[in-house]
């Protein structure tokens, strides 16, 4: 046997973490933009446009992100004879994918605010944008923290799929090291552990944020 797993190999894995984080962050921000855009399409007066938005959501929620990635990576190349590099392809595919989920998470959070809150705001002579801004969105934001963070954690783990088209993030780095050392039973648990180290603090931070907001508002948890 040649090479075995040691400090340099571990460092190689660590160096891949920023790419996983960058991809996750980019996909989340891109998804937020896509989600906002789709959210607007969902509420315009034109019915066909609204259907288009719903169709988008159903399509991207109902198909595997891997297929979406293939379509973006290979499909565009085949259809338009245009080479898309791996980084752009994964960023586009994951943005489209996360947009379809984020829009529904946020729409659900807004719809969870009881109608009397809208009415009370309207009865203070607030315009629709001001009702939304001062009364509805702050409450919807609080509600949306757990599902949004839950999705962000999913997204970080899903970015491992980008390894399949050769984009070197954490999982791909693990594959490369496995190929070099033939020690998958050492490397993959370490890779999994590194994902955990990325995701767990996010969940903890979300819980702390929720608790802090609730404590601020004088809400006591009856648990």
């Amino acid at each position: 046997m040649g090479r075995s797993f040691g400090i340099p190999e571990f460092l190689y894995l660590l160096k891949a973490i920023p790419w996983t984080l960058l991809l996750s962050l980019g996909a989340f921000l891109g998804g937020a933009l896509v989600g906002l855009f789709i959210a607007i399409l969902r509420i315009v007066p034109s019915r066909p446009v609204r259907w288009l938005a719903v169709g988008y959501i159903e399509l991207f929620q109902g198909t595997p992100v891997l297929m979406q990635l293939f379509v973006v990576y290979y499909g565009i190349a085949v259809l338009y004879n245009l080479h898309v590099d791996a980084w752009s392809a994964v960023l586009i595919a994951f943005s489209l994918y996360s947009g379809a989920f984020l829009v529904e998470i946020w729409r659900g959070s807004i719809q969870a605010i009881p109608r009397p809150q809208w009415e009370a705001a309207a009865c203070l002579s607030l315009s629709f944008p001001k009702q939304l801004w001062h009364v509805i969105l702050p409450q919807a934001a609080r509600i949306s923290i757990p599902p949004t963070v839950g999705f962000a954690v999913q997204l970080i783990k899903s970015t491992s799929i980008a390894s399949i088209i050769g984009f070197v993030e954490l999982t791909r780095a693990g594959q490369l090291m496995t190929n070099a050392t033939f020690q998958p039973m050492i490397i993959y648990p370490i890779v999994a552990g590194l994902y955990f180290v990325l995701c767990w603090p996010l969940s903890l931070a979300a819980q702390t944020l929720e608790r802090r907001i609730d404590a601020n508002l004088g809400i006591k948890k009856h648990l």
Partner: protein, 255 residues
């Protein structure tokens, strides 16, 4: 001239006739208590006054001008007509102070320091100045409802609507809210209340309106309606609500 004039208002929900040709005038400074069984259309009538419900037909005049049920028209109307709800509907993410200052600052363009002074003033009127920094969940139901009244008053309205504002309260908390209402009534505020508090209606209302099946069946000073109800429906409501009140014992309708 009446400040509010409802003329022949009708409203259907599906096949149910919630309001069936209601006509009602409210004079400045008048306190009008609307009573009736649940489902009689009282709340629907109240919600039509500030545009939370759209009447199918009829005219609403406020201050001599017909109310426009457009977005802009309603916005202007709601600077003049405030409402207090049964379930308070305070904004849970805002302090008492911000609940009260939101309307004056965000809707009417008042500067925040001025709105803060106003918040203190209206909180004094409901005896809750010490709760200015609290969040709604930290208050009792009666306190929340008084904050909701203060929030309505901060709009400096010319008419305040009250939609069964004591109905969701524990019995021991009703008194503190009624006391605030009494005080407002004495101070000359124009008020329209949907209420089950017959004591308040009898003591503080100038006019009592009895609604039944979407129509106004009786209307007049409390002494007349409570003393000698003209319809069997009002008499039976009285008996249902005040079964042991000796004041109503001799007041069975005369046929």
């Amino acid at each position: 001239m009446p400040i509010l004039a409802l003329k022949n208002i009708s409203k259907r929900f599906g096949t149910h006739k919630a309001l069936d040709g209601v006509t009602l005038m409210v004079e400045p400074g008048e306190v009008v208590a609307i009573i009736g069984r649940s489902g009689s259309g009282k709340t629907t009538l109240l919600r039509c006054i500030n545009g939370l419900e759209k009447p199918d037909s009829g005219i609403i005049d406020f201050d001599g001008k017909p109310v426009e049920l457009t977005r802009k028209g309603l916005k202007m109307l709601r600077r003049e007509i405030a409402i207090v709800f049964q379930s308070y509907n305070l904004f849970p993410h805002l302090t008492v102070e911000r609940n009260i200052t939101l309307g004056p600052t965000a809707a009417k363009g008042m500067a925040f320091p001025a709105a803060q002074l106003l918040a203190r003033k209206v909180l004094r009127m409901v005896d809750l100045e010490d709760k200015i920094g609290a969040y709604p969940q930290q208050l009792s139901g009666g306190q929340q409802q008084r904050v909701a009244i203060a929030r309505a008053l901060a709009m400096e309205p010319r008419l305040v609507l009250f939609d069964e504002i004591t109905a969701a309260l524990d019995p021991e908390l009703i008194g503190e809210v009624i006391r605030v209402l009494d005080r407002l009534a004495r101070d000359g505020m124009t008020m329209v209340l949907v209420t089950h508090e017959m004591g308040f209606a009898r003591n503080s209302a100038d006019t009592v309106v009895f609604m039944h099946q979407g129509r106004i069946r009786e209307k007049g000073p409390p002494s007349k309606l409570f003393g000698s109800p003209a319809t069997i429906e009002l008499a039976s409501l009285m008996n249902a609500i005040l079964p042991f009140d000796p004041a109503t014992e001799h007041s069975k309708p005369h046929h």
